[in-house]
Subunit: 105 residues, 2 copies
DNA sequence: CGGAATCCATAGGGATACTG
DNA sequence: CAGTATCCCTATGGATTCCG
């Protein structure tokens, strides 16, 4: 039971790491270890946990390929594109205004 | 130090309540008690805390008027419009797809 | 490689009562 | 009305180890 559609959206993509993971997967599919390395600062436990949540939410799909496991965005995940872009753009402007620093990506 | 502009954006508007509060203030300025009543389920402590954070982030302004205190969006707060709208729209679609229920607002 | 399980610390949040 | 101030508690997350 949400009190606002935005609340629902943040319930799915909110938090510190999910959008970072989505941002990388938006570029292209990643192997587990590969994606893992692109999200420094997070613990193993949290990484897996968030990844599972994104899977359970239907935004990310998991495929076992040869000796690897590959993660990619589902159509549902891609439907977040405009929203993520809007947040991205605002984040860029805001960083410019406040002097906050953003690394990587 | 963020790893993605979206992370910065979520740092400012993320969490369970801030966007709900912003959504109401986007409609029009509100008195304290008035806004308070529109955000049911949150504790007094969290309500004030979130409101202060939005003020400190420069998204919300506080004005003492006669016996009341009024909160409204600043220009910076209004600059979030497109991003909030995109999230709102996605939230509505998502609710339709998943059957999640959204009340109020 | 791709995780699962465990243990532990603390920050975040709830309920309630009090104040200018 | 518009907040502060406590007290308490549990959910979240970190570090580390183990497993197929």
């Amino acid at each position: 039971m949400y009190h606002c559609p935005v609340e629902l959206a943040l319930d799915v993509i909110g938090g510190k790491w999910r959008t970072v993971m989505l941002a990388h997967l938006k570029e292209r599919p990643h192997h587990y270890g590969e994606l893992r390395r692109k999200v420094p600062g997070i613990s193993e436990k949290m990484f897996v946990q968030r990844l599972r949540e994104l899977q359970d939410a239907g935004l990310v799909s998991r495929t076992e390929i040869s000796p690897h496991v590959q993660y990619s965005l589902t159509d549902e995940g891609r439907s977040l594109g405009p929203a993520l872009q809007a947040l991205y753009d605002w984040g860029v402007e805001r960083a410019a205004r406040t002097g906050a620093s953003i690394v990587g990506t």
